[in-house]
Amino acid sequence: MLILGIGNCYRSDDAVGPLVADRLAALGLPAQEHSGEGAALIDAWDGVGRVILVDATQSGAAPGTIRRLDAAAEPLPAAFFRYSTHRFGLAEAVETARALGRLPASLVVYGVEGRCFDFGEGLSEAVAGVVERVVSMVEGEVVSLGPLPTSPHL
């Protein structure tokens, strides 16, 4: 089991992933911050059966909107996340790993719609207001998955 909170804590709402990861780690869950660089993501989940990612989205939905995506079952909508021609990010990592047969057996992505991605510290109100809800959703997800397998290799 691995939980990665993706984002940059110096880019306003982009910090939501790392903040959620901090909260989950404090609860004793295997959660950590991640920059979201795609090849490093594929490396990070190598050999891990259950992975949960939390990342900010910018899709045009209302700020604070939470989405749960089952990435093991269906392709990620690239435009939700940091998609660009110069970046190998979350969506590219997931689809490249899928092409190579290197996706974790269970890969769930929580997206939290951000409002502001300017350089600066601190979440906007709408996003700050849902952090605890995301934390409990991920926590609930971990509980529903049952006890951790004895071997991380599936």
Binding site: N8, A39, Y83, S84, T85, L100
Partner: protein
């Protein structure tokens, strides 16, 4: 006048808008503007008032791809300001860490972002479907870079074990030596990469570049040396601001780097290092260039792809050398007494020379900060290349012209955060 607007991909989430505008009249490029967004300015403001020790951690968040460049560059500048020097053991451990970043960054860019351009694939996902072995090799190589960062830096991304003055904890000898098998395997894979890329077809384009890079007589410069050019420049790092300036251009919120008194732009990064420091490459890296038929100076910017692979061979080779010689050190960092001062630091980030300057007050708090990242230095040269590439390819339809422009921008491996996303290309054809 006919105007065509071509949308290039979806939005770039955080970096703001980047755009390329081209005006063509009578078959001649009249105007070309390449606009980018540049966050280091923001980070400079964020640093003021904080203790000196915060600079490496904060500046390393500028970029998810090259945190080590910011950690080492800002640490050097702080150490200069505070009047301390680190012993060789710490310097070598930093250099090993830096080799890890070169491998990570070069492999990511060359294989997953740039190579698809040459093979006619839209992205790495298509590449993975068509040539899974190639992408697997890239991920394996990248993983070796990640391992170096984990062992030396405590984490694969955003190292946490580094500090001004050295490390929090000296990496254990057994763990560093434990990297060797992977490093030797990665070195072989890097040699294969040079062979693979050298076989690609490259657009026919060359320019007589002004190359600028760090240079050190005893080693391929990464973390120390003087700043030199192929046109006679040879200065200590502390003189950077006397010879280089940044000018504001109205159409971009990025500052463009210029060499004071020069009538042409300059280039930092892979091709510059290779041209200025070829003699300092390891034997194996030199052998790889000979096998690939690469000249000692490469002036075709598209061939930066191959040179990046050569530098990956070097970084693996150098990492093997450093890991073989590694002994844990104590203390893990030199002791520091806060004081007022000014310090500069310069290293070769994967995408080129990155300069830092800080002023500290008597308590060691940051009074002012200035960072000149490689991508802002390359701005003018990227524009000049684009002008040449567009002019040479005006017969192409807009869509293919756009692809060629993006490929040309990627020659510079523009840092995802320090640089650019081409969101739209607008071509005015008269």
């Amino acid at each position: 006048m006919e105007t065509r607007t071509i949308k290039v991909d979806a939005l770039a989430r955080v970096e703001g808008e980047g755009a390329l505008y081209v005006r063509v009249k009578g078959g001649v490029v009249q105007d070309l503007k390449f606009r980018i967004f540049e966050p280091p300015r923001f980070f400079e403001a964020l640093l003021v008032g904080r203790p000196y020790g915060d600079a490496p951690d904060i500046t390393s968040r500028i970029c998810g791809i090259c945190p080590v460049a910011y950690i080492v560059g800002s640490s050097h500048a702080m150490e200069a300001a505070l009047g301390v020097a680190v012993p060789d053991a710490i310097r070598n451990a930093r250099r090993l860490l830096y080799c890890g970043e070169w491998v990570q960054s070069h492999v990511l860019h060359a294989y997953l972002l740039h190579a698809p351009d040459f093979l006619g694939f839209e992205d790495s996902i298509q590449l993975a479907k068509a040539h899974p072995g190639v992408v697997e090799r890239a991920l394996d190589l990248k993983k070796t870079g990640n391992r170096i960062l984990e062992v030396l830096g405590g984490r694969a991304v955003h190292p946490v074990n580094t500090r001004v003055g050295g490390f929090w904890k000296a990496p254990p000898r057994a763990e560093v030596r434990g990297l060797l098998d992977d490093l030797r395997r990665a070195r072989d894979a890097a040699v294969e990469s040079v062979r693979l890329f050298a076989g690609f077809e490259f657009p026919d384009y060359e320019d007589d570049y002004t190359f600028v890079a760090l240079h050190h007589p005893d080693e391929y410069a990464i973390d120390r040396g003087r700043i030199v050019s192929n046109r006679g420049l040879d200065i200590p790092v502390a003189d950077f601001e006397t010879h280089f300036a940044e000018e504001h251009v109205a159409y971009s919120n990025a500052l463009h780097g210029v060499m004071v008194g020069a009538d042409r732009p300059y280039m930092v990064g892979t091709l510059a290092r290779y041209a200025l420091n070829f003699d300092q490459l390891s034997l194996l890296a030199k052998q790889a260039t000979a096998d690939a038929g690469l000249p000692r100076v490469v002036r075709n910017p598209f061939k930066s792809l191959v040179v990046r692979a050569v530098e990956t061979v070097y970084a693996c080779d150098e990492a093997v050398r450093l890991a073989e010689a590694y002994e844990a050190f104590d203390p893990a960092a030199v002791s520091i007494l806060p004081r007022a001062g000014r310090g500069t630091g310069c290293t070769e980030a994967p995408r080129g020379l990155c300069y830092h300057r800080y002023d500290l007050d008597g308590e060691g708090r940051i009074a002012s900060a200035s960072i000149v990242p490689p991508t802002s230095q390359n701005q003018k040269q990227i524009e000049a290349d684009l002008r040449g590439v567009v002019q040479a390819n005006l017969d192409l339809p807009d869509e293919r012209l756009k692809d060629r422009c993006e490929q040309a921008i990627r020659n510079y491996d523009p840092c995802i955060s320090c640089a650019t996303h081409v969101v739209t290309l607008t071509v005015d054809r008269d």
